[in-house]
Symmetry: C3
Subunit: 500 residues, 3 copies
């Protein structure tokens, strides 16, 4: 080995050591750790293993831009030369947080929000603001159609034997929080500040309502939307974990959005399962082929990926539909909405939905063909790293065809339902009644919410059975025929009732 | 390095080597291995990798008490200085085992029972004796209500076209063994001793009935209850394996007790899935934060856990409900029974259930509020290692609220059912008929057995969709409305039948 | 260390190095890689990590026969001394492939077929030819009964309100490809050759129909059947991956064949999950006990396994039913068919099924008792590596009993169905109508396709809940009672219709 190579290695190693030595927590964080290391050993141990605990913003900035994990060009002076510890996050923007309280001499807040994270990660936060998920609370709770769906299933039903019918009691906050809002996120508010006796003397602490919550669209005490911890689990905030499909399974394994289940039985999921121990889930950028030999959820939808020459295949995005032409999810599948706030959509009947109940989309609020094409191209760029042109084109044609057929099967079920509503065999919108509170209406909802959705995801991500027997086409067919049987019986009962 | 440090290291290593050298199988076990190494290579290889194969009780006793894996203060003299091999377990207490047979000069028994294991692990065995699971056989088969449920689904139904009805043939032992008793455990008995020709000459061997079984409440040929191998899989008996959630999934993944599925999509399950390769599943005691950074099933329900200072967070227990205030499972959720034998319970109608069908609990056999509080505190101690006070309190309040609402939804379904029974539209207890043999009754059972249970587990362990669309609140609502629809049709049919 | 030991080690290492040095891609493959390394980095990286990329047939042949991964005694001269790269597979048998095209001076084909793989792996290919899976396309699409099932669920249903009924539009190729044929395999054909502009100038490429497909019974452009890549995922073709159960889950996790789900909760699956990181999935032959301490799917059904003395426990087979006495799957479970082409079967009613609808098997096309016994013995040989005689016998008796009871429960449901057909309450074969297009018929199909099958797999592989509450015996009972309820209502409706 040449002497100057030896010298260079020596210098690099020395610098790394020096840098490691100086990458220390701030005195403020040391103060937090002093007690919390004992009170919350799990949290502290988690953090100690994290990149935050061994990296100062000033170190992060030294990397070439493509390798950077922070997007702030210049993080605040006061934070640059200390690692990212308790105090750095939990005392930021104290005045903005209604949950800020005086704690051992510090103004601390409980709920770290996307705006806090944006101190170092502003681009990711801005992208996420434009992500449907950041609006998951409002898109459910402030859309009258979906809110009614939520209320119907979260409320308690009281049976009245005389009428052979139930009356619904409105759901309470606790139920919503462990039901729909578990994934969508709660509205977190300070109920009051309470002084409690603790092992460390009397302490005044905020009593939060809607807490805990790590739902993707959480409304935070500083008014911001979202919870970065939904995917970047506290207090390790590990990119490895966020890139593994299990993270997405937290909210995408149910029958309404079975994306994880589909992935799991796909070739991609199989490769992940068999080979993941040899992959590098931590590399930034993520080199396809080298770091991973099959995509995880993040590879296709989120991550900055490059080829073996370092050329960018796809840019990092936290607006999850940047590479998606269609929104699969819905009564009918449709082009993605332009705004993350879907409560602004109106179909021709005036409902806050992107498509009429008979299947005609209302294109105003939705992206156009050109934007669809651009997004489809962005996704196909990832596919083409491993798949030929014929392969990729057919794959997307098959998906398009599946959207048509599942929309048609939804339409058939909707026509049965419409017939029931018209004949007064069930009570729908025209009767100022819920769309989701009778058995037949719930079967109609299952047609699109479970079976059409599952079939669409199976086609998109190649998970065979979820488009066939596992709540797929089989279930769409059976469900439709059962609705038809129900209608026949209901008509007969009505006739008899009328003839009495 | 100082010379005395070097010396100490030298001594420790030497002692370890000497100890390893002398940790040898007994001559009796060597005799077993001689043939069985060839006949059953899989079993022997498994055991050879086990801690049993390299540890003598005398070594185990040398550890500080908190690190000990055996609880016997003084194991029998004859076993102390040999490793735990075939002969040590399979010849213990020969006279107590009805399956003992003379085998190449030894009195061997096939089924190693908890009483055998108690030779070195008496505390664990005593705890398990007090665990509901040890009574899983009797609690199912000797409770007339549940026995009838089992019979109804395990028996074969013969269709009689004229009556458009089925008659039930009683289930046979083989069916029970692969159905309910697969998890609950069978009653293992010696049918006879048979002499067979083998490669090693004629051999007289016991022919066991109800074997194989590794169900948690197995009744053993020595009259004891339980199978330690249900979780500590033979012949490795690995604590690592018992601590991993997959072990619990063997019996807790079904729709009646979907605990594993809930865990799997929870933050805890996600952390386990992403990070487990860096955890130490073998450490005793288990240091939270250091050894594991998120709980598995065992962490919360079973294991001896300590904080980073070695202070005990929770004591080891094999009575699985030691940290549980409520029994989630049941027609209605209720405080845990005092006795592991739940056949002694009586509700006000005299049924062997802890709660009346209308939802009123019979508190006699159930733990009181004080004991509930103690158990809740024990569990919360584990939670508080990573979670703040507000977090933990709200989590448990939400669970309590979920128990109320799921009980209410069970009550509504029961009222529909009661109305059907009263009107003679279905045949229930008053007609001396099964509660589980008609379609409408099975739908009623699904209301609590599947949907209410799933919703409760989802709230307890934070697995979103299992409380919503995946057999959760959605399914409780739909099922209830379908029961109501059924009742309407049944009333109409009855009316017409009567008017003919 | 003795000098000659040192010398031997030196020589072995040197030879290994030399061999590694000379194991190089062919110039033709180098030509492929030149461009494709950039265009398809994922594929190339996958291949580079594969055994194919570092092994020449001549090296493979040097191993003792039991360790060989190729079965050709003498691969073609031209391939022997180069590694197995792009050109070696994609230019083989050019004239036989209708998808062959001129590509940068080479005659290349897209779809590598089993006949191509047979160049080095002829025995495996011959076995697979005799495997039911190789006929998965025809056995579905050319059996009128199953084809009708497929059409009914893949076609789009159009609702006609006046008749309260649907009319079925035939399914299109794209839908079939992502539905049933995703696992069964498509028929891949060249639609046309198209000249496209590419970054490398104009290129004429085949435009394939039915592509992509990695279904097990794919019909290839060279007329052969099967896709080795279904399990040996391209382009790593890793034996490790094929041996892991996740590979089988791609097609065996659905409700019709829930083998993977059953395995997953079995003791075997639990051992795999907890201990797999210490197993050797790559060893040939596979030593039970040493390489793996519990079976995966491949261990029992496919792999060459030996005991610790190197004695063969089971021979390698790619005819997956070589160790199976019964075909679990079907309206009724029955002895395995003799021919992999099941369209040749005829039951007494002339239907292409092995069993009459009333449960009587037609033994002509099925293996006899002697062959069943031989296959059962082959499987039990694997079991006996870890399990005693009593254990193994009872396990198989329990399975036999489960086949009887699930067949009986299918028969009961079929009798209800037959009664409906006879009374004209549903339209079946006698009305020249589909068996699968009415709700009640689909419920009948679920009785055997989902619930009986699941119960059988649960008994065969010891996955408790899949034989009870998770689409097991519980569901068979409930479904049967619901069919009976339906029949009662249907009879009543008919009566009223007739009395009008």
């Amino acid at each position: 080995m040449k002497w100057h190579v030896t010298l260079m290695i020596f210098l690099v190693v020395s610098m790394a050591l020096v840098s490691a030595v100086t990458a220390e927590p701030s005195p403020d964080t040391e103060a937090c750790l002093e007690c919390h290391r004992t009170i919350h050993p799990g949290i502290v141990a988690d953090w100690e293993r994290s990149r935050h605990a061994r990296t100062r913003p000033v170190d992060a900035l030294e990397k070439p831009e493509i390798e950077r994990r922070i997007s702030a060009a210049s993080p605040p002076e006061s934070l640059r030369d200390v690692t990212v510890g308790c105090a750095e996050c939990h005392t930021l923007r104290a005045e903005a947080h209604s949950d800020t309280f005086e704690h051992s001499g510090y103004d601390v807040h409980v709920v770290v929000s996307p705006a806090d994270c944006a101190t170092c990660h502003p681009e990711e936060r801005a992208q996420y603001e434009d992500n449907l998920m950041s609006r998951a609370y409002g898109n459910l709770m402030e859309n009258p159609v979906y809110r009614n769906l939520a209320d119907t299933i979260n409320g308690v039903q009281v049976y009245h034997a005389k009428e052979n019918a139930t009356r619904l009691k409105d759901p309470d906050e606790a139920t919503n929080a462990v039901s729909c809002l578990f994934c969508h996120g709660t509205r977190v508010k300070v109920r009051e500040f309470i002084t409690r006796e603790t092992d460390f003397g009397d302490m005044t602490l905020p009593e939060l309502e809607g807490w805990p919550s790590q739902g993707v669209g959480r409304i935070n005490p500083d008014g911001t939307r979202g919870a970065c911890t939904a995917c970047h689990t506290r207090h390790g905030f590990s990119i490895e974990m966020a890139r593994k499909p299990h993270t997405c399974s937290q909210c995408h394994k149910g029958p309404d959005v079975p994306a994880y289940k589909v992935y799991d039985v796909s070739k991609h999921g199989n490769l992940y399962s068999a080979l993941k121990q040899a992959w590098d889930f931590d590399a930034v950028p993520w080199t396809l082929g080298k770091d991973v030999s099959a995509p995880t959820c993040a590879t296709c939808h989120v991550s900055l990926t490059v080829d073996s020459d370092g050329l960018v295949i796809a840019e990092r995005t936290h607006r999850m539909n940047d590479r998606l032409a269609w929104r699969l999810f819905g009564v009918y599948s449709h082009p993605h909405p332009k705004s993350p706030d879907t409560t602004v959509l109106r179909n021709r009947s005036g409902l806050p939905l992107p498509v009429d109940l008979d299947g005609k989309p209302s294109p105003e609020g939705l992206i156009g063909a050109e934007e669809q094409e651009a997004r489809r191209n962005a996704m196909q760029g990832v596919c083409r790293s491993c798949h030929g042109d014929n392969w990729v084109r057919t794959q997307f044609e098959r998906l398009d065809r599946t959207l048509e057929t599942t929309n048609a099967m939804t339409r058939a079920a909707t026509e049965v339902m419409a017939s029931a509503w018209e004949q007064g065999l069930a009570k729908g919108l025209e009767h100022q009644d819920s769309l989701f509170n009778e058995a037949i209406e719930m079967k109609w909802a299952e047609q699109w919410l479970f079976y059409a959705n599952s079939t669409r995801y199976a086609a998109a991500m190649m998970g065979g059975d979820y488009g066939v027997f596992e709540r797929g086409r089989w279930d769409m067919s059976l469900n439709l025929q059962e609705m038809i049987d129900w209608l026949e019986v209901a008509e007969r009962l009505q006739k008899e009732r009328q003839s009495e």
